[in-house]
Every structure is written in C-alpha cells, then in structure tokens.
C-alpha cells in the first residue's frame, strides 16, 4: 500500500502538475463562463461569419479566436462547451465507476454464479462496437444530457468491471482475507472492509481515465449530431462544423480540437501519474 509520507516527500512529477493545472483552469473557465466569455456563445451574426483569429489579417477586435460560419465567437463557445464536457466527465465518469466497480467486486470476490453471469455479460458487451452502440442508444433515448450519461454508463461499465474483477480475485485469494473470513465476518463486510480499500487506487486511476473517455464519447456523439440540442455549444459540435468548413476557416476546427486534445491528455496523464504514485514498485 501507499505510504503517505514518503509519497508526499517525493517530487511531484511534471505531468501530474501540468495536467492538474490545465484541468483546474478548465474547471474555473467552465464555472465562470458567463463572466469571462467575451460574447454570447449563441449570438449569430452572418456579417461576421468566419472571422480569423486575432493574429491573422482580417480579424475583428473582440473575436479573439475568430468566428464560425454563423458568426458565433469561437472562444466563447469553447468556454461554454467546457461546461457540458466537464458535467459529462464528472457525472458519467462517477456513475460508470460506481456501477462497474461494484460489478467487478461482486464477480471477483463472490465468484460462483454471480461471476458467471457478470463475466458472460462482459463478454457480450465486448462484442459490441462501442461507438456504434452509443450512437444507437442515443437514437433510442433521444438526444439529451441524460441520454449521453446513460449511454456512457451502459457502454463503459465493463471497463471497470473487467479490471476490478481481476484485482478482487487476486486480493480474495490472499491470506488476510481468509483470516477475516475465519474471524466470522460476513462476505459482504469482508468485501467492503478488506477488498475495497486495496482496489481503491486502481478504481481512482480508472475513474480519471474514464472522465477523459466520457468527454471523447460526448464529442463523438456531438460530432455525429446526436448529442444535446444542436444550438448549445459543444466541442464535438464545433469540431463537426470545423470539419465541414476546414478549407475556408481552419480555426473553427483547430481551437476546439486543441482544447479537447489537452483535456483528454490531461485526464489520462493524471490517471497514469496517479498509477505510478500508488504503485511504488513501478518507479
């Protein structure tokens, strides 16, 4: 297990610092979007369509990162888009984590028919193309924030279940678990008090990774025009528009893409960095 004191003494890895900084900035931007966004993200002005960013000839003051084909301010839309992205990351990530980890713990620790059932379900899930499955679910549920979250949970719970199941199995085979059993504890209480704390580091790492994945799924759904309503600013929606007008206005694609890239990279680097710190043997 992690020795708290020695972990703090070690120098914080650069990637942890960088990714945490970016995610903090992004969270602040999302929370205070109404205060800091220079324009109304929904305001269209066809006379100001496809304005380039501030350092390019032909830009218009006030539109720092330019405008899209409908004359909407790219920067303001990115800032508002962060709200949806982070909401999805937090809620979908957490719910997926809770459901998936519970399934994994139950299967890995209780074994028997519970394990058979859950493992079979995982096998079946693994045979679905995930992107297509999520698109299908959104089509069924109708485009909305809740649908996106449900789709992510339904598709990605196996990500947690598979890993946690394997870990719970290893932990369950260890001596301390047997002695807890001998001491007359119920299996459920052994699972929660003995197994859960030991797989918690893995759960935290997976959760961080899942948040990045959720953001990508949301972007993909917006990209195929199946996310929330088409007017609300989403990174995926902006990317779809940018892809369509790529030869006329590259900035409509580039800026949301950079934001999305950095965010996903940060979540994943945060996860990897945490993994290293939880696992002293690796470093």
């Amino acid at each position: 297990m992690l020795d708290g004191r020695s972990a703090i003494k070690r120098k914080l890895p650069t990637r942890l610092v960088l990714s945490a900084t970016w995610l903090t900035l992004l969270t602040l931007a999302a929370v205070f979007a109404p205060l800091i966004a220079p324009k109304d993200p929904l305001a269209q002005d066809l006379f100001l369509g496809q304005l380039p960013p501030f350092w390019v000839q032909g830009h218009e003051p006030g539109y720092l990162l330019g405008t899209d084909s409908l004359g909407r301010d790219v920067l303001s839309r990115i800032l508002y888009g962060a709200r949806l992205a982070l909401t999805v990351a937090l809620t979908a990530g957490t719910i997926t984590c809770i459901i998936g980890a519970t399934m994994g713990l139950l299967a890995g620790f209780l074994r028997g028919w519970v394990d058979i059932l859950i493992s079979r379900a995982i096998d079946i899930w693994m045979a679905f193309p995930p992107v297509l499955f999520s698109i299908l679910l959104i089509a069924v549920l109708g485009p909305s924030l809740t649908s996106i979250i449900i789709a992510i949970v339904v598709i990605d719970w196996t990500r947690f279940a598979r890993v946690i199941r394997a870990e719970a199995m290893t932990q369950g085979a260890m001596d301390y678990v047997a002695s807890a059993q001998v001491a007359g504890r119920t299996r459920l209480s052994t699972m929660i008090t003995e197994i859960l704390p030991n797989v918690l580091p893995t759960i935290v790492v997976l959760l961080t990774l899942e948040m990045g994945i959720s953001i990508i799924v949301e972007a993909i759904l917006s990209f195929v025009n199946l996310s929330i309503s088409t007017d609300d600013p989403t990174w995926g929606g902006m990317i779809a528009e940018g892809r369509a007008s790529i030869h006329q206005a590259w900035w409509v694609l580039v800026f949301p893409l950079i934001t999305l890239f950095l965010t996903v990279l940060s979540f994943s680097q945060l996860g990897e960095g945490l993994k290293d710190r939880f696992d002293p043997v690796l470093r």
Partner: protein, 336 residues
C-alpha cells in the same frame, strides 16, 4: 485432445456471446422512437399505405414474434431487407465489409510496424535519450483516441501539407475495373498500381489514425516484455557467442517476448475495428461503420441489426483466432 476440447469450449462461449448480442440489439432497437415507415413514405400517404408497409416489414407483429421470425431468417442466411434502400441486408453489408476489412488490416499492419519499430529501437538504445523520447511519444499516442488523431491528421496532412486524401475511398472520377469490393487487394492483383496508389493515399490517413493508439500499446507492451526477456540467461548466453546486440534482440529475445503482446493485440484489434465506425465517418470512407451511422439516423432497423451482428461476429472471430494462434505458437502449450 485437451487442445481440441478447449477449442470446442471456446466455440460454445463464442456462440453464447453472439446470441446475447443478437437478443440485446434486437430488443434495444425495437424501442427506437420515430416510425421508420412514416419516414419512408412521401408526404400525403394514406393510413392504408402505412399499414401495408408496416405489414410488409413485419412490424405489426409482437416483438417476440418478430424476433422468432428474424432468428429463423438469420439461420437461413436471410437478415431481412433494408428499409431505406430496399435491398437485402446481407448483400448491403457484405458490399461494404471489404472496405472496412481493408482499412482495419491496413491499420493493423501500420500499428505493428510502428509499434514494433518503437519497441525494438527503444530496447536497442536502452538508457539513451531516444528511449526516453519514445516513451513520452508512446504515452501521448496512448492517451489520445483515434478520433482525435484523425482530426489532427486531417489538419496536418489534409490542410497544412495537403499530401493525402482526407475524404472518400477512391477518387470518384476514376473508372474502376473491379469485380469485388476489395479495391486495394484487387488493384494489386490486377497490377493496376496507379489505382492502388490512389486507393492507398485515401486509406492511409484513416488507417494511421486508427493505428496510432494501437501502435503505442504494442510499442509499450513489447518493449516491457523485451526488457524482461533481455535479462534472461539464454539471452546473456547468446551475447557471449559473439552475436551483435541487434541480432540478440531480434533472434533470441523477440520470439519469446512476442507472445504476451500477441494476446493483447488481439483484443486491441477488435477495439480498432470498433473505432472504424467513427473514423469512417470522419473521413467519409464508404465502409460498414459509415453505413451503420446512416442506418441509425434513418432508423433502418434491419440494417442496424445486420451490421451490429456482423461486427460482433468479427470481434469474437478475431479473439478466437488469436487464442488459437497463441496456442499454436507456444511450444509448451502445443506439446501439452
């Protein structure tokens, strides 16, 4: 005998998985709101027209009844008729399958070459700056999914330095002499290298986008595996025999280090195939995935079903194949 038994067992679980997929997809899409029949008819169609078409597609029966009809059809190779194009689903799906298969295999080849190169270079140059750079690059490539790599490739090699095509499968104005839809393969067999070049230039960007994350996984895993193998006694012994370090890595360590990577590549390859859905959309590549998204948007139920089942068959098939290859390659298992 044991080997044969485990193969049979794997076949059984595969069938159960496929049946599960069929049941789930069938019932999920029956809940799809929006009447696909109404969408097909021109405005002003009568109630009777709707009823007639609904009956034609069997949508007036109860859902379990529809399922039985569908299953008995599937068992005879009949996956129903597409609502939008009115062609048999099987024929539609099979016409697009080659495009997706060629794309996936191309991506796999690129991933293996890139990942293998990274792992071997990193191992050969242990402890150098190059190794550190490879590790950082792998970490990045792994963190960012194919969808974003696709967009980045579109920007860099489609717009900034426009050297590759970023849309479609082949230049539309070219006359195609092909009898199958395996364009890339057939162009080679017909020695039409002009066509091959055009098709490959279309395929390269989406294939690379799919390949980058997998290449990183292969690179990391193989390198780790090589690192462990390089410490083993037989590798040390080979060094004392006068072989060069490169030879030692390639001939002594690699064959043993490759096995654990292989199983993982199998699972990861199915993820890659799953990724074709969005990558084909992104690059307007006329494959199965692109067709699937259209089918969802058009509520083409029989077609969606057919495509999902086909994907599931491919996924489970790949996993089965990998398991068998693993068993065949490992002399210890083979002789067990």
């Amino acid at each position: 005998m044991q080997f044969l038994q485990s193969v049979l067992l794997r076949l059984c679980t595969t069938l159960i998985t496929l049946a599960g997929v069929a049941v789930i997809v069938f019932f999920v899409i029956r809940v799809v709101p929006g009447n696909p029949i109404a969408m097909m008819l021109p405005p002003g169609a009568t109630e009777a027209d709707v009823a007639r078409l609904t009956a034609l597609y069997g949508l007036d029966k109860s859902i379990p009844q529809q399922f039985l009809i569908w299953v008995s059809g599937v068992l005879q190779g009949d996956f129903g008729t597409s609502i939008t194009t009115k062609q048999p689903v099987l024929q539609l799906v099979l016409s697009r399958l080659p495009a997706t298969l060629e794309l996936s295999v191309m991506a796999l080849i690129i991933a293996v070459i890139l990942g293998g190169f990274m792992a071997l270079t990193g191992t050969r140059l242990r402890g150098s700056k190059t190794e550190a750079a490879i590790d950082v690059g792998n970490g990045m490539a792994l963190s960012v999914p194919d969808f974003l790599w696709g967009l980045i490739l579109i920007l860099t090699f489609g717009v900034l330095i426009p050297i590759f095509h970023i849309s479609g499968r082949v230049t539309p104005s070219l006359p195609l002499p092909f009898t199958t839809n395996f364009y890339l393969t057939e162009s080679v067999l017909r020695l039409r290298f002009d066509l091959w070049l055009d098709i490959a230039a279309h395929m390269f960007m989406p294939a690379l986008a799919l390949a980058i994350p997998l290449a990183a996984i292969i690179g990391q895993l193989l390198k780790q595996s090589l690192k462990e193998t390089m410490h083993l006694d037989y590798v040390t012994l080979a060094r004392t025999k006068g072989y060069s370090e490169t030879h030692v890595i390639l001939r002594e360590a690699l064959p043993n280090a490759i096995l654990p990577t292989l199983t993982l590549v199998g699972v990861q390859f199915t993820f890659l195939i799953g990724g074709t859905v969005i990558i084909e959309r992104l690059f307007s590549y006329e494959g199965l995935g692109n067709m699937a998204i259209d089918a969802v948007i058009n509520r083409d139920l029989p077609l969606i079903q057919g495509i999902v089942i086909l994907f599931a068959v491919i996924f489970t098939g790949v996993n089965l194949l990998v398991d068998l290859t693993y068993a065949a390659l490992n002399p210890r298992l083979r002789h067990a």
